[in-house]
């Protein structure tokens, strides 16, 4: 079952290169819907305990093809399963060059992302981590904007540098427990925990840098706004809704339990960085005029909050983190969909040239409003549940300064309201003449958007399914 989850998109992705013309789009949609069904089934099954799968892979290296889906993995797979069809549906009418390779790469990257969420073996994890990255690199550098080459190169080098350091750290850990499964999660964590606190504290950075770049955490974030800006929007969605979660997920799965003393030693540093990042990114978002950059900075702010909660070492925060990973993925997808619709219709992302969408495209504006309010965590949208729990977690954290952290992070939500409402005001409101002539959402866009909006509100009103799916994980992670 778990292998199917990875291999369906993988095989569909490979096949996609063989399909000529627009058939690739249909193939991609079919595959992604199948994955959605599979991931929903997996999520349902994990209610009865984690699913596992294991077979020998490269025993000489001490690595196994070992997968495991607990609530957190299942939830993130479900997120992947939801986001992919939404992206494909929303872009159904948009012609891309060489659709076979575009959709093929998308599916390959989906396979990689799913693999990351499921891998229970460090080397396998690294393998999927890179498998997810490389297609995205090609997607950005072939279909991206004007400055794509320089920007994607920076993105690639940046993340790859981090990955290599992580690989070095994992190899070091694996050498501590020789054997045929020295890369398995259990052995890695045992090896990590057996190290002295000094060793753990440098090993922490070796591994954490990769995740910090991926999330990204201030000050490792500069690849992100550029890359989001230059990538084609479907890729941006994958990047910000899914790949960013890879970093967060990896922190929870491959960092916190692996070097507990190192984490304890650096907790305050990381939380301070995250909290600075929240305020910093929010302040920067206020002065952005490009929609994509604004959303990019807002994403950095949100990830900062999640990262702070991840390190706050409290059960509520951890649970909130799980929930928020899902919710942020949904929200940011909606946000990008709106941005791409705006860009497709009016050909610009410069907010100073936009305005009056509420007159010409009221449905789009309503969707924008709902997503925007989810973005600033208004109650009864899904964003609120997560952020409330995150704030709660940061507040109840083990650190002596948790109150300060929480209040400073809270300034972020005020600034969040400022930039989000600025964006709403400048795009939807006002009365700009060129924007009067445009169509509202087309059918496929409405379907994609409606799915997102329904999820936003449903999970905001009744978060119980999501909470139950991930309950108990946090307790298992925190020692």
């Amino acid at each position: 079952m778990l292998t199917l989850l990875i291999f369906v998109p993988l095989i569909a992705g490979i096949f996609s290169f063989l399909v000529k013309g627009n058939g690739a789009k249909g193939l991609a949609l079919a595959s992604s819907l199948a994955t959605l069904a599979l991931s929903a089934y997996v999520a349902f099954e994990t209610g009865n305990g984690p699913l596992g799968f294991s077979m020998p892979w490269i025993p000489q290296l001490g690595t196994q093809f070992s997968l495991q889906a607990d609530g957190m993995s299942a939830m993130l797979c479900l997120l992947t399963g939801i986001v992919m069809p939404v992206v494909i549906i929303a872009n159904w009418n948009k012609e891309v060059e060489r659709p076979w390779s575009f959709y093929g790469l998308m599916l390959l990257s989906q396979a990689g992302i799913t693999g990351v969420f499921l891998a229970y073996d460090a080397l396998l994890f690294y393998f999927f981590w890179e498998l997810a990255l490389i297609p995205v690199y090609f997607l950005c550098s072939r279909w991206g904007g004007e400055r794509r080459i320089a920007v994607t190169f920076k993105f690639f080098v940046y993340t790859f540098l981090g990955s290599l350091m992580m690989l070095a750290g994992l190899i070091y850990l694996a050498t501590l427990t020789p054997g045929a499964d020295s890369y398995s999660w259990a052995n890695i964590t045992r090896a990590g925990a057996s190290l002295s606190p000094e060793n753990q504290s440098w090993l922490f950075w070796l591994i954490f840098i990769a995740f910090a770049i991926k999330m990204p955490i201030f000050p490792f974030h500069t690849w992100q706004p550029d890359t989001y800006e230059q990538s084609p929007t479907p890729v941006t969605i994958i990047l910000s809704a899914l790949m960013v979660k890879m970093g967060m997920f990896a922190v929870v799965r491959w960092l916190l339990p692996v070097v507990p003393s190192g984490v304890a030693f650096w907790t305050d540093t990381v939380i301070v960085l995250s909290v600075i990042g929240i305020v910093y990114a929010s302040l920067l978002a206020i002065v952005q005029t490009d929609l994509k950059r604004l959303v990019a900075y807002s994403s950095i702010a949100h990830m900062g909050l999640m990262c702070a909660a991840a390190f706050a070492h409290s059960e509520v925060g951890m649970h909130g983190l799980m929930v928020q990973m899902f919710n942020h993925g949904i929200n940011i997808t909606g946000m990008w969909l709106i941005v791409s619709m705006v860009e497709n219709r009016w050909g610009t992302r410069d907010m100073s040239k936009l305005g009056g969408m509420a007159t010409s495209a009221p449905q789009m504006s309503i969707a924008l409003l709902i997503i925007a309010f989810a973005n600033i965590a208004l109650p009864l949208t899904n964003g609120f549940i997560g952020e409330f729990m995150l704030f709660n977690g940061i507040f109840q954290g083990a650190s002596a300064f948790s109150m300060t952290y929480m209040v400073v992070a809270g300034v972020g939500i005020i600034l969040g309201a400022v930039y989000t409402l600025n964006m709403v005001q400048k795009t939807a409101f006002g009365n700009t003449v060129p924007m009067q002539v445009a169509k509202d959402m087309t059918l496929n866009e409405s379907v994609a958007m409606a799915l997102i909006v329904v999820l936003v509100i449903f999970l905001g009103v009744y978060p119980k399914p999501l909470l139950e799916l991930t309950s108990g994980i946090s307790g298992a992670i925190l020692p």
Partner: protein, 626 residues
Amino acid sequence: MTDLVYLIPLFPLIGFLINGLGWRTIPKSIGGIIGSLAVLASFAVSLGIFFEVRSGVSKTVTLFDFIETGSLHIPLAFQVDSLSALFLLIITGIGFLIHVYSTSYMHDDEGMVKYFAYLNLFVFSMLLLVLGANYLVMFIGWEGVGLCSYLLIGFWFKNRDYTNAAKKAFVMNRIGDLGFLVGMLLILYHFGTLTYSDFFGQLQNGNAPVSNSTYNWIAICLFIGAMGKSAQIPLYTWLPDAMAGPTPVSALIHAATMVTAGIYMIARSNALYNLAPAALHLVAWIGCATALLAATIAIKQYDIKKVLAYSTVSQLGFMFMALGMGAYTTAVFHVMTHAFFKALLFLGSGSVIHAMGGEQDIRKMGGLGKHMKITQITFLIGCLAIAGIPGFSGFFSKDEILGSTFAGNKAIYVLGLIGAMMTAFYMFRLYTLTFTGTFRGTHEQEHHLHESPAAITIPLIILAILSVVGGYVGLPAVISEHHMLGSFLSSSVTNLGLHEMEHSTEWMLLGISTVVAIVFSIAGFAANRKPSFAPNTGLSKVLENKWYVDELYDSIIVRPITAFSNILDRFVEKMAIDGLVNGIGKTVRWGGDRTRLLQTGQVGFYIFMMVIGMTVLFAISFFWIG
């Protein structure tokens, strides 16, 4: 009946969904009817609950678990007791009148169905706020009303100033909300629950392992939330700007209901505030300062709605003064009477604006009484009520507030009295300039002057009646031993320490406020019989410009933040961090460029280097290592 409490928010929610989903297909009149009926149905249920609660029923109705994780357990539950029942009545009752009023007032607007959807959503959120059985549900409603306020202030979204006002309102509310959130988290951290009954139970047992300063901090954090929502210093500037919305919205949200959320919250948390004397002092002084500041500004405003807005801020200040004295029921009493007469005044001003074709400047009005008798009379009743003329509702509630301050803090009493003076003065200034004298507008406007239709006047009349009689539920102790409202609320809210006063003192206070109200009403009337609108100078100019508070905020908060952000964007982000990252790349490339020059491309040179390298390696391996 109390089991059916979920119906109360459900009806407006249904109304919102119908109107919101079908806002382009539903005809205007149907949308209005749906919206009004939804609120009427809620009102009916509220009435039923009210009568049940009167007989002493207090109950918690749990719908489902909202957040459940580990030790944190927050249900979506409703609390039905006397306090919430009273607020339910105010909200649904006045809400219904305003809906009816709106069907006529908004009839020419193309977004009318959307408007009703928003109104219903607002009522829904407000009901959630007062019904919640824990702070989280209150917070949901709390932010929900903020959202609706945002939507309705920016209802005419094509106007940039209006949307700016909406944004300002939302952001200021957010600042307060952060305080609320911190307060909630503090409660959760120290008491492990957000449910009122658990929390207050722990407080009353007195065995919570918490220091006094913690109580104060929690109370102050919650009060910051109330500052934002109830427009107190320093977060009050959004409320006057919020007058950008349609007038019924100003009546409903920015006078009668939403702004009283802060009062409700503190009254609800009375058990906490009783333990936090420092916080109570802060509340009293902030309220007092707000009451005075807003009253001074109201004296020199020329926009009919702005005057009312500042009077709202001022009256809210009075309520906080009462809360600060621990006189919670008094504050709730004033909330109720204020809801009646302020809604009346706003709706009356709406009627005037309607007649004037959108004109809001009182310098261009005058003599309107001739054309619109009902509006004039009801407006006058509202003015009498707010000014505190004996016999009208405002008199009783305001007198009770002043009485409590007299017992608690004489300084605040004196300041409050000055505030009451100014209230009487500016209200009658407003009345005089609007309804008496001669018309100062254009001929065209004069030609169009007419009395508003029944859908507007009937709510006015009902509210006028309520403004007169509303005060008799809380007669002062010297007149009647039985304080109806106080005893009704006693099951959920009681005043801190009953300040038993001598009857003579009480009579004296009543006398003073009566004299003050009457004298300054007449003064306000007389001073504006012959208006002259020369440009203001000196203090008047400062008052007309609202003490330049907006400008102050702009220059000490908004601009520095924007400038700082720009600096961050330009220097830190682009130059420092990104520069560092790109700099590393550039250094590598530069180094590569230089190293590349070693590669001459001459094969001979390569061989030469190889031989030398070989020699060196041999030498090293044999002489140093081997």
